[in-house]
Amino acid sequence: MKYLPLIWKNIWRKKARAIFTLLSIVMAFALFGLLSAVRAAFSGGVELTGADRLVMVHKVSLIQPLPFSYMGRIRATPGVEAVAHATWFGGYYQKPENFFGQFPVDPENYLSMFPEILLPEDQKRAWLKDREGAVVGRRTAEQLGFKIGDRVPISGSPWRRKDGKEAWEFNVVGIYDGAEKGTDTTAFMFRYDYFDEARARGKGLVGWYTIRVDDPDRAAEIAQAIDANFQNSPAETKTSTEKAFAQGWANQIGNIGAIVEAISAAVFFIILLVAANTMAQSVRERVNEIAVLKTLGFGPFKVLGLVLGEAFFLALVGGVLGLMLAQVLVGGVGKVLERFLPIFYLPSEAVTTGLVIAALVGAIAGIVPGIQSMRLPIAAALRRG
């Protein structure tokens, strides 16, 4: 501990260099944090899916609707605990740039299927009372300025109204939050009974079903049993775990995300190597000072500790500051990207991984000059200076 002031002085020996080295480490870790958020966004929340939930879509493609009448038969399948359905509505608010997911759902089924949707009890009651009521996620509500009590028109949906009006109008009766920071709070949900009665065609059809099973370990087996129910019917089904479904979605986006990540990771390490090189160099330049320390009686391990301590300090402070900057950036960039990527947050594993990498950088930058300093022959080093 008493050597801390010495380490501190050594670091600031060349102020400009120390600051720029620190800043380049900060930038590298800010980038690392941002990329972790991008990765989480592109993977479409695969980590956040419920292990006990299945998703059932039409076998031909997920754009094909399924009969509402399947509901009862799914529930009757052994192992099925609950069923909810949703449909892609595909409209926008005022202009096409304002898009977000809208889904007609059965409020009670849907909310109990997705406990990560946190809706205050009184707002839920209001929704059950108002046929034209809708609840909207916090993020979309803030972005578009929706407040409880607003009447909002949604246009552009492929679902036409039978009364011929272009826009569907809803009353905002609730605003929900997510139970976890990765929960999607961009959705806009309204009542299926109202939707089914008012639509011009496709009555009795829904987009997909979400199914809760009583035993996650038997999920695959139950999924097969459900699909077997509908084999050779006009609308054959394909049921998979919610995780596999989200993964499939991420696979559709393909390797673009992976490519961006891979090359960014390469540059992250290049910047760190540059910084580590500078740190090592600054020790090499002080060879004769270290020789003086050794002359004064500093043992080899104390010298190693001094050099390593300096490197660790720079790397860790840079890492922590960088991850803090990443947190700020993710918030700011998230605002810009939120219309493309509804889920955008800094995953907590990324912080842990980042700190481990920072410690490694400190070790790598410090170990070589540290060992050199340990072995330094005093007389030769003093003469060299």
Binding site: A16, M27, V60, G254
Partner: protein, 396 residues
Amino acid sequence: MLRAVNQIAQISLLNLRNLPARAGSSLVAVIGIAGVVAILVAVLSIAAGFRETIASTGAADRAVVLRQGSTSEMVSFVGGDSARLIKNAPGVRFVDGTALASAELFVIVDLPKLPAGTPANVPLRGVEPAAFAIRKELKMVEGRPFRTGTRELIAGKSAALSFAGLEVGSTLRLAGNDWQVVGIFETGGTLTESELWCDARVLQPTYRRGNSFQAIYVQLESEAALAKYRWTLDNDPRLDVAVERESDYYAGQSQVLTDLITSLGLVIGIIMGAGAAFGALNTMYTAVSSRTREIATLRAVGFQRLPIVVSVMVEAVVLGLVGGAIGAAAAWWMFDGFRTSTMNWQSFSQVAFAFRVTPDLLVLAVAYALVLGLIGGILPAIKAARLPVATALREL
């Protein structure tokens, strides 16, 4: 004046000739800048390739008619009666008494994406016979066109390369029926090459669409005929549709993903650029301090401050340019023409495309590297100019 220019040239050349002596630390700055530039170019080339593939699909003398308010074919709906009116409105080109207009369906089918075999949304377009005359760029490269009224389909070349099971002669099972792949077509690298085509009348019952369509494609009499055509459709009370020039429609279809990738690329590029600039600053400070005595000597024999500043800046800019050139070349070599496919969120369907490192991007890359070099050079250059001659000469 002339003397100053002469001094600048002399010192800068001296400096650059000495550069190899400082190779180690210079290399560090060059690698940092090259890395940043390479990734900026690579990410932006994704957006450029994607945009180009989609935008090149549309022609100015063709029009797309969708339902009013629809943002893409995927969410559009046009009834059979409306389609007939739309196809025969004034402004459409007629050949031998029939309109060059095709009412089309646009759906997706689930096919395994190569190489991993994960399911992907592949677009399937049901067309009418006129579609081939409207898309003059479409050429069969293998097999033959599908026969009207049969469950046959043809695949775009990009689709055939990106998804499994699309060889001529193979069979696809869609909604309980077998479909034959009978040909492969090319359209010069446009979005259409990512699609499968079949007869709209056969697709309608398969996807339970009754007598309805999603989009009408028409060949206009001329580019200028769009106004007349739009006026007619807008003023027909039986219709509730919007007409758009095909080139405008497709330019808009790439917007979301292009914006996303471009903003990501710029954010990443700026953050990493800052990191690399700090690295370059360190390099140049080291360069200046290793030349402290040399610079002091030059000042002592009568060289002025400006030439010293310029010489340091020149060195930094050269390092930046070298880094930029290496980075841009690496990105071009690794990514130009790299083929992949992704889902276009606006149409829910897969688009196969190639990365495009355009000349614009290369210029941007080198310009950015130059800026990074300048930032890296300016402070050290000022420091070099301010060195007090007497103390600096004494320094080791």
